[in-house]
Amino acid sequence: MPHFKTFQIAGKFIISMVAVVVIQGILAYRFQVVRYFDLPLLCTVYYGFTLGNPIASILMGSSLGIMQDSLSAAVLGTNGLSKTLIGFIAASAGSKFAVDQPITRIFALFLFTLADGLLVTMITQAVSPASNATYGGTLGGWLLSATFNTLLGLVLLGYHDRLNNATT
C-alpha cells in the first residue's frame, strides 16, 4: 500500500511536469508575451521551496530542463544543467530562509530567472561559439523576463499556498 502511494505521488509529479512544459510551448506559440515567462523555472523554484526534499528538487529541475531542451533548438542538457542547479539552490534556500514571505519570493524569483538566463547563454556560447547572441543584447530580455516571471510567480505561488491551506 505505501508503494502504491509513492507511485501515485510520482505519477502526479510526472503528469504536472509534462503539462507545464507542453503548456509553455503551446502558449508561447499562441501568445508572444508568454515567451518571457518560464513556467518550468517557476515550477522548479516553487517545489524547491516547499518540498523540503533537495533530492526531489534536483530530479524535478533536471527532468523539466531536459524536457524543455527536447522541445527546443537548444543543445540537450543546457536547461537541464541550469535547472538542476536552481532546483538544488532553491531547496537549500527553502530550508534556510522564510520563503513563504512575498519579499523573499520576489528576490528569489528575480535572481533565479537572471541566473537561469545567464547560465543558459554561457553554456550556449561555450558549445557553439558561432552563436550570434551577446550578453548585452539579451540583458534587456532577461530583465523583462525576470520581472514577468516574478509577477506571475508571486500570483501562482500565492494561489497554490491558499489551495494547500484550504485542503489541509
Binding site: I26, S70, L71, G77
Partner: protein, 284 residues
C-alpha cells in the same frame, strides 16, 4: 559531522545529475555520440499532447471565425472571382515563359533548379525556452522529413529542420542566434551571409560589397548554403547603419511573418544544384 553525513545523498544526486548533463552536452558538441534518438523519443512522447491541445485551440477558434466570416461574404466573393480571372490570365502567360525557360535550360545544359518535393506541416508549438527561436511542426521522419530540410512559406523562408522525430520535428527559425543563410541582394545580386540575432530581425554577417545597400532592398536565397533552394525571398533591409568592423550594420526583417506561423512547407527532396555540364560547356 552528522549534518554532512545526512546531506551526502543530496551531494551525490547533485553530482550525478550535473555530470550526466555535462556529458550529454559534451557528447553532442564533439559529435562522438548521436543523441537524436533520446531527443526524438521525448519529442514523440510529448508531441501528441501538443497536437491535441493545438487542435482544441484551433477548433474553438475556427468555429468562431466561421461565424464571423459570413459577414460581407458576398462582396468578398465577387472580388475574389475577379482576382481569379486576373490570375488565370497571368498563369497562362507564365506557362509560356516556363516552357521557354525549360527549352533554354536544356539548350545550355543546365539541370532543373525548381523547388524539391514539399510536405505541408502545421506548427503546433514554439520553443519553451527564451534562449532559442524554434517551432515544433506536426510532421517527422514518417513523412519524409530529415534534418536540414528547408522550411518555407509563400512569403519567404522560415528556417530548417534541426531534429526530426517520427511524427514531429523541431524547426530552427532564421532569426535564431545560431542560424545563417546564404543570400543575394536584389537588384545588384551581391552575395552575402546573414545571421539571426535572437530577436525579430537578422544581421548582415558578410557581403561582397556593401556600398550600394539601402533600405527596402530585397534579399533572396543564394542556394550556396545547400539548405535553402535558390531564389526564395528571405527579408528586406530595414536599416543601414555606420560601418562596424568590416561591414556596415545592416538589419533585415524576414518577409515571412515568423510570429504568426500556422502552415509551412518542408522541402523533403532537395532540388538539384545548378551546375554547368562540362561536356556541353560552350568554348570560350
Amino acid at each position: 559531522m552528522a549534518t554532512i553525513a545526512s546531506k551526502k545523498p543530496v551531494w551525490v544526486t547533485l553530482g550525478v545529475a550535473l555530470l550526466l548533463h555535462t556529458m550529454l552536452i559534451s557528447l553532442q558538441t564533439s559529435r562522438r555520440f548521436d543523441t537524436s534518438f533520446f531527443r526524438g523519443w521525448i519529442l514523440d512522447s510529448l508531441s501528441p499532447l501538443e497536437k491535441l491541445v493545438d487542435r482544441t485551440f484551433h477548433g474553438t477558434g475556427s468555429i468562431l471565425d466561421r461565424y464571423l466570416a459570413l459577414i460581407g461574404v458576398h462582396d468578398e466573393n465577387a472580388r475574389l472571382r475577379a482576382e481569379v480571372d486576373d490570375l488565370k490570365m497571368q498563369l497562362a502567360m507564365q506557362k509560356e515563359e516556363i516552357l521557354e525557360a525549360d527549352r533554354l535550360r536544356k539548350f545550355v545544359g543546365l539541370e532543373d533548379s525548381r523547388l524539391g518535393k514539399p510536405v505541408v506541416a502545421r506548427v503546433i508549438g514554439r520553443d519553451p525556452t527564451q534562449s532559442h527561436q524554434s517551432v515544433t511542426i506536426d510532421k517527422g521522419r514518417a513523412h519524409g522529413i530529415r534534418p536540414d530540410a528547408a522550411v518555407i512559406t509563400p512569403e519567404g523562408i522560415v528556417g530548417r529542420v534541426i531534429y526530426a522525430g517520427n511524427y514531429s520535428s523541431i524547426v530552427q527559425l532564421i532569426v535564431d542566434s545560431q542560424s545563417g543563410v546564404g543570400i543575394l541582394v536584389l537588384p545588384n545580386r551581391r552575395m552575402g551571409i546573414i545571421k539571426g540575432s535572437g530577436s525579430a530581425e537578422l544581421d548582415l554577417d558578410y557581403i561582397d560589397d556593401d556600398s550600394e545597400l539601402k533600405e527596402g532592398d530585397l534579399m533572396i536565397t543564394s542556394g550556396d548554403d545547400r539548405i535553402y533552394p535558390k531564389g526564395l525571398p528571405v527579408g528586406k533591409i530595414t536599416s543601414v547603419g555606420p560601418r562596424r568592423g568590416l561591414f556596415k550594420t545592416v538589419r533585415i526583417r524576414p518577409t515571412a511573418d515568423l510570429g504568426r506561423l500556422e502552415e509551412v512547407l518542408c522541402v523533403v527532396e532537395k532540388p538539384k544544384t545548378i551546375e554547368m555540364n562540362p561536356m556541353e560547356r560552350p568554348a570560350p
